[in-house]
Amino acid sequence: MAATAADKLTAELGAPPPERFCELDDRDLEFLADALRHAREEQAAGLDRAAEESLKMVPAIARGPVRRILFR
């Protein structure tokens, strides 16, 4: 059975939204779920590149351990 818009939002939030949100249109619930997923993806984007960049600034003596932590 296909997930409803409310199910999608619950999944993105990790918990059901407040009670009165059930009064909202499916289209709006779907928008909230999509916007939250998108915001989370945006957050994750760039992390790997940032880790590579960070490594260049670490003093040579610490680079080995730092690399092991970042890219184990």
């Binding site: 949100f21 992390l47 600034m57």
Partner: protein
């Protein structure tokens, strides 16, 4: 008031989701408490369960000196990721790194910090740093972030920030404050004549939604003070306030303030040109019916010019049966018939008959008749044979 709190919450959610506030307008119909709870869920959804790489970067940061960690934050991570990493560090370590960063970068990062970590961090930063962050955020106009921070700041830091920011900042930040219970105390830290400047800033910048929010969140004494200061603005500016309230349906935020005015200030408000317009007075009456704010509205009606009182009576008389009944029930519950009867007298005969036929009116009529009878005849002497505790 709920309308304004919801509006502030919607703007905060829009910020978290990088969404257009207009697109989230559908949330405006929900109670502020639920929208706030949803905002907290969104924050948890964004800041919990972060990618594993973020934790690895945070862990790696511990292996390098603070100054290197600061350089990495600034040059490799940028404000957004640096804030995310700071949220994964021990607060003391994060604070040490923050102290080594340019204040502009820190202010940019603050906007992306996990709101639940703000308190731990702020407590560990030097006061000078906190004050500089506050002033930069105010200059950037990032009032949502400031609203997240101010509740956690010391009195001393708040005083120093208040001394350095423009008067309208108090209104903008008060609109977004995350800990509304702290607002009265914060406003109380301002120099005595600053509150008048803040109210004037509301008037000059048409920041009425912000000013109404702040006035409704502070304690009653300061609320009355703000209401009085607002009522003493120019007629033109007060008219702009009333029209803004009418446009945005904010009567529930304004009427409680009008009720706090002294007679002279209330009379000044009552003669505003805007309060002689049928569409505005009819809107107030509808809002009062919806919110039950009769005890806040009637003192104003009392001092309205005769023509305006007539218009209020007509618009009340034109309510449909359901609303008229709601009005009567609210008036009955709040024991306000004495104040409403003069208004009913101004209604046309048809409207009067409708009011007299209402059940709530009949109940009060019987009650007042009984009261009069009791007043005319003294209560009978109690029967000495009867135990007064037991009754007959």
């Amino acid at each position: 008031m709920d309308t304004l709190r919801t509006r502030a919450e919607v703007e905060k959610i829009a910020r978290f989701l990088d969404a257009d506030t207009e697109r989230l307008a559908f949330l405006a119909a929900l109670p502020a408490s639920e929208v706030r709870r949803f905002r907290e869920q969104v924050a948890a959804g964004l800041f919990d369960n972060q990618p594993e790489m973020l934790d690895r970067i945070a862990k790696a940061t511990k292996l390098v000196p603070t100054s290197i960690a600061a350089t990495i934050s600034q040059k490799a991570l940028g404000p957004k990721l640096a804030a995310r990493v700071a949220g994964r560090l021990e607060p003391a370590r994060a604070a040490d790194i923050i102290e080594k960063l340019p204040i502009g970068f820190v202010a940019d990062s603050c906007a992306h910090l996990d709101p639940r970590r703000v308190r731990d961090l702020v407590e560990r930063l030097h006061e000078d740093t906190v004050v500089r962050i506050g002033v930069v955020l105010a200059k950037k106009g990032d009032y949502i972030t400031m609203g997240r921070f101010v509740g956690h700041l010391s009195d001393s830091a708040l005083r120093r920030i208040l001394d350095q920011v423009a008067d309208d900042v108090v209104l903008h930040v008060g609109f977004f404050v995350d800990m509304p219970e702290r607002l009265d105390h914060i406003v109380g830290l301002m120099a005595p004549d600053k509150l008048a400047d803040v109210v004037r800033a509301a008037s000059d910048g048409a920041l009425w939604a912000e000013a109404l929010t702040v006035a409704n969140l502070v304690g009653e004494q300061r609320r009355a003070e703000m209401a009085g200061l607002a009522a003493r603005q120019d007629t033109e500016q007060l008219d702009a306030l009333v029209r803004a309230v009418h446009r945005d349906h904010l009567w529930e935020a304004l009427l409680p303030l009008v009720a706090l005015l002294d007679d002279a200030d209330r009379r000044a408000v009552a003669v505003l040109p805007s309060l002689q317009a049928w569409e505005i007075l009819a809107d107030v009456v509808r809002a009062v019916v919806a919110t039950g704010l009769w005890s806040q509205f009637l003192p104003l009606v009392d001092v309205l010019p005769e023509k305006s009182r007539q218009l209020v009576a007509e618009s009340a008389g034109a309510l449909d049966d359901t609303d008229l009944d709601r009005m009567a029930v609210a008036v009955q519950e709040q024991d306000l018939w004495d104040a409403v009867i003069p208004l009913v007298e101004l209604m046309d005969d048809t409207a009067k008959e409708r009011v007299f036929a209402l059940e709530a009116f009949q109940v009060q009529d019987e009650a007042s008749e009984q009261h009069e009878e009791r007043g005319a005849k003294p209560d009978p002497e109690p029967d000495p044979q009867q135990d007064p505790q037991q009754g007959p």
